[in-house]
Structure formats: structure tokens, C-alpha cells
Symmetry: C2
Subunit: 348 residues, 2 copies
């Protein structure tokens, strides 16, 4: 473990092989027009020295990197963890290395993260979470790094996301089909604003079509005892048992739904007998027998593949996306996965 000695450079290889740097470079980059004999000699020298090209130098001179920046909402949330993994996989599939910044819903962190990524001259940035406010936005726009939003929408960049509104509608219609009419929509900060609104819009559509009254979103931070409706704080327990209590709740994300289920468990309320629950995302957790959450499945695989694909496209056919181009919006379909957390409305 003797580190002080510096790694060999292209020059060392050239010397050992008895050729010039350029020739070595040509061999490395696999340009043709190198004599077979020379090539072998160089390759041998590379082996002997355990030469490893300095990506820094290469990227520096080429003025472009093969690194993608990824802004993640919160790796503790399995939805993000699963997405992050897939993004990484597709990045490396395209020959890019992924650099993650976990922003934990914190705008400061997000800004710092973007800053760092930009300084490292990442070739592009994947947003798995929006920074909420816009400073980072402006940074990026002007700092001209290609950007793609995956799993959410922003109007200043390309995005690949599921059809949230349709998901909301499907979830709600499913509950309506079970005879529910007092259906609430509950959301948590883990969901991006846009997605949240779209899911609620889908919910409203379904309710309206069925002739039921749509309620405003119930905002909950899992772990807290109270929620907000409009601006008004109310005890969550009260909402679940009060006079206007819903017989079903559509929750904007699985982790939120599971947390709510947990809350109900603790308060001795039955799912789905007292209240049916439907989530959104279909994280792997949702499939466990003990959780068995009915949910709207997002095609994670597609989101990642299309998202990274689009970003790489932007990067590689570089800048000429005419100034005024409106962002490309890609939508992938969702589908309902019915499990045990939803059931018939109590008769009465």
C-alpha cells in the first residue's frame, strides 16, 4: 500500500514502447491506421505498466465529460432508491458514470449539489426530484447543462414521467367501483408538486364523473399527528374517525400510504374494513403480503431508460435545440395493481 508513486502516464507508455505519445493515444482510442506490430508493442507496454488513462486529463482536453449528475429526492424512499439504481444502470449502459446528490428535500442542498455538478462539468443532469424553488433552475438554464426530469415535470426542461392524472383517475375509479363515495386524497412532501396536482386532478375527474364530491388534498408529513387541509391543521386521527370520515383514501405515494396504514394499525383501524387505501408508485415493498398495498404502478424501468436515453440524446447531438424549443414531454402509461388494502365500502 505505497501510494506516493505516481501512476504511469501516456508518456511512460510511449517511452517503454519506443513510440510517440500520439501513437499511444491512437492505440488507446482505437483509431485505425496503426501498424499491427506497433499496436501490439504499445498494448504490451500498457499491460506492463498497468497504465490506466487519466479520465480527468482526457475530459479536460476534450472539454466534455462522460459523467451524469443525478439529483435524488431522498434515497431513504425506496421509490428513489429504485430509480437511482436504474438510472445508474442506464447511464453506464450509455458509457456514462453517475454522480449522485441526495438532496433530502432541501433547497440549499439541491443548489449546492447542482453547483458542484456544474463545476465538475457533468455532461448532463437527471432530476429525480425538483429543487422546489427556482434558483437552481436559473443556474442551470444559463449554465447550459442539458437536463431531463424523470418522474416529474418542470416547464423548463424535457421530462419523462408517468401519466399522473390517469393514475389518479384509475385509483379513484377503482375505489368508486368498490362502492366508495367518501374518498379522500392524501399527499405527502415526498411527491413533487406537479405530480401531486396531477394525481389530485385525476382523482377529481373520477369523482366528478361519478357525481361525488371531490375533497381538497389532505397534506400529511408522515410521523406527524396532524395534517393540513387547505391551510387548517387538524388531527389526523380525527379525520379518520370523525363524522365526515372517508371510507377510502387515495394516497399520492406508496410510502405515504404505507405510513398511513401504519398509523391506522397503531390506532386500531382496519385496512380495508374501516378504510380502503390505494397508493401510487408500486414500490417493491407494496407487494409484501403484510403490506399488500393496492397501488398505481409506475414503470420504473421505462422511466429510467427513456429518461437517460433522452438526456444522452441531448448531450450527444449537442446544442442545436433551437432557442425557443418547448421542452419535450414524454409520458409513460401507468397501471393499477389491486391488492388487499382496498375492498368494498362498508354497507351503510
Amino acid at each position: 500500500m505505497q501510494r506516493p508513486i505516481k501512476p504511469p502516464t501516456i508518456f511512460d507508455v510511449a517511452a517503454l514502447a519506443g513510440v510517440s505519445k500520439s501513437t499511444v493515444s491512437n492505440v488507446i482510442r482505437d483509431v485505425d491506421g496503426v501498424a499491427e506490430l506497433t499496436r501490439t508493442r504499445v498494448l504490451e507496454a500498457i499491460q506492463r505498466l498497468e497504465y490506466r488513462p487519466n479520465a480527468l486529463a482526457r475530459q479536460f482536453v476534450q472539454q466534455r465529460t462522460t459523467t451524469l449528475g443525478v439529483l435524488v429526492g431522498d434515497l431513504d424512499n425506496p421509490f428513489y432508491a429504485e430509480m437511482a439504481k436504474l438510472i445508474e444502470r442506464w447511464s453506464s449502459h450509455h458509457g456514462y458514470l453517475a454522480m449522485f446528490c441526495n438532496i433530502e428535500g432541501d433547497d440549499e442542498l439541491a443548489l449546492g449539489g447542482v453547483e458542484a455538478l456544474l463545476e465538475h462539468r457533468v455532461a448532463g443532469i437527471v432530476f429525480l426530484a425538483s429543487s422546489g424553488r427556482s434558483p437552481a433552475v436559473e443556474e442551470l438554464l444559463r449554465q447550459r447543462a442539458p437536463v431531463v426530469f424523470v418522474g416529474l415535470r418542470e416547464d423548463w426542461g424535457d421530462s419523462v414521467a408517468a401519466s399522473d392524472a390517469e393514475g389518479g383517475r384509475l385509483a379513484t375509479e377503482h375505489l368508486i367501483g368498490y362502492g366508495h363515495r367518501a374518498i379522500a386524497y392524501l399527499t405527502t412532501p415526498a411527491v413533487e408538486q406537479r405530480a401531486d396536482r396531477a394525481r389530485h386532478a385525476g382523482y377529481r375527474t373520477a369523482m366528478r364523473r361519478a357525481g361525488f364530491v371531490a375533497r381538497p388534498p389532505v397534506r400529511w408529513i408522515p410521523g406527524h399527528e396532524h395534517v393540513r387541509i387547505g391551510g387548517r391543521p387538524t388531527a389526523l386521527a380525527e379525520i379518520l374517525v370523525g363524522a365526515h370520515r372517508p371510507t377510502a383514501v387515495f394516497v399520492s405515494n406508496d410510502i405515504g400510504a404505507i405510513a398511513l396504514q401504519e398509523f391506522m394499525d397503531v390506532h386500531r383501524l382496519s385496512v380495508p374494513d374501516d378504510i380502503s387505501l390505494v397508493g401510487f408508485d408500486n414500490v417493491s415493498l407494496a407487494a409484501f403480503a403484510r403490506i399488500s398495498l393496492t397501488t398505481v404502478a409506475q414503470p420504473l424501468e421505462d422511466l429510467a431508460r427513456l429518461g437517460v436515453g433522452r438526456l444522452v440524446e441531448l448531450i450527444e447531438r449537442d446544442g442545436q435545440l433551437g432557442t425557443g424549443n418547448s421542452p419535450r414531454v414524454i409520458t409513460v402509461p401507468v397501471k393499477l395493481v389491486v391488492r388487499g388494502s382496498s375492498g368494498p365500502a362498508p354497507s351503510g
Copy 2:
């Protein structure tokens, strides 16, 4: 969104401020001995141009980066996801950016990941999972990147890990305290070999002390219907109901334990009435009412803090860790968290 135009360089700033590059550099690096007036002028120019130092160039010339490579076992596993998040947090706390490689238990991927990290001249590497085989090992050793293993041990580098053996002992003693004597040890590939062995050793210690017979590890890949004991494949279901069935199982990791719980649920076996379960890790999931897994808690926060701390130490006081130094091994304590998945042994 007009990207073609190149970002401003230190030279542009110098020109605008009417000073030399060095002066700008001095301002940026905050070396003292720059006239207040000059500094302001430079700062202004930086603002006006939205200049952002090129980390690539800086790192290139300094011959050192502020990037840490992280090899993650599998982000789908909440244990790794949680660790990854904490590693990232502590990295950035020390001024380093984290680059993740998700290796999904695949040696090829691991090797490729290490290769890429090395080419990017990362300042150091955190292993959250070992590469299993040793090629990557040799690479690194000779390529001299400081390395630290977090949550596992390897004999060729520093490590920060929980006291696995003690954890195994605690878990087993807990079960023994409940009157169990037919206790099995079950493990899955999600756990590193060393950790696995140490946890099993702890189990054996406890069993021996109590005068019970320790069994060889049951190896299970969650999702599969059969397991291996020694080399012999057997149906998992059979093991759980057969004549020699255990009344308690200590599982080497939470995700495995939860999967086993799931398996039992599906097969209509009760936890803990038929079989008690104890896991290892204490992932956040384990605390859910519906899971309620008794487990051995690893202090994730400490692991991450100490691991990154040690790595940074190695990096910053650079090479002189005498050639023959045996690796520094840091051990953090574990503690048992008792929940509902363990209970008294059936009387009989």
C-alpha cells in the same frame, strides 16, 4: 437553452477585472495577500460572467480530486440505500463529492466500477460491498487508491463495521432466553461473507454456552423455494415444518428476515407463534407495525461517519502508511431491538 457557447474561464475573469490569471486564482482560492480593492473587482467580474471554476482543470493540475468512489451492494436493499445516503452526506461534509457504483452482487460490474473510478482518479473508495473475488482487490492495491470498507471486513484494507459476532450472540441469546433451543441460522447473499461467518460464529457461541446444538447455516436466496444446507438443496417449506424444524430462526439480515416472514405468511405459518424470527441491521422498515421485526441494530450513522472520516484521513495525510501496516479495524457496537417477531418457544 443555447449551450454551444463555452463557459467563461479564469482568463476571461482576469481580462474583465484587468488583472492577471494568478490574481484571480488567488482570489478564488482565498489566499490572503490580495488587496481589498482588487479582490472586489475580481469578485465582481466573477459575478458578472457567472464564472464557475472548472473542477476538472483544478483537479487535473493538482493531481488530486475531491471525489470519493462508493461501491454499493444493491440500492434496492434499504440497508444499502440508507448507508449510501449517509456516506454521501458525510462525504460532502468533508468537501468530497460521491460517485456511486451499484454492483448488484456482480463481480463484473464491481470490477468495471472500480476501473472507472480509478480512471477518474477518485481520491478514495468506500466499499459498501465487497467484490467477492479478488481481481478488483489486486487492481486497487497496486493502483494505490486509499480504501475503506464500511459494514464489512477485508483483510487488505481498513474497515469500520459492527461487531457481527456479538450481534449474532445477542440475537441467539435473546431467543434462548425465550426458551428456544431448536434455533437455526439462515443467511442470504445480501450479506458479505465475513459478516455472515461472524454472525454465525456468534450464534454458535451462544448455542454452545447454552449447551444446545448449533446448526450449519441455511443458505437461501429470497424468492427461491429451496435452500442449501452444507451443499444439499432442500425445500424451504420442508425445513420450516419438518421433524427437525426450528422454533426460531436467526436471519443474517433484515431483508432476508422479512422475506422469510413473507414466505411464512404465504405458507400460513405464524410469526412468532410457529417460529420466532430475529434479523440483523434494523432497517427502518423493520420498525413498521406490520413487520415488527426483532433485530440487531447496526449504528448506521456511526458506520458512515467513522468510515468516511477514516478514508478522508487516509487521503489527506496521504501515503506514508508504512508498507507493512496491518489494516486498521474499527468496530462499533450493536444492540438488540426487541419487537414482535420473536416470542416464547411453544411449550411442548
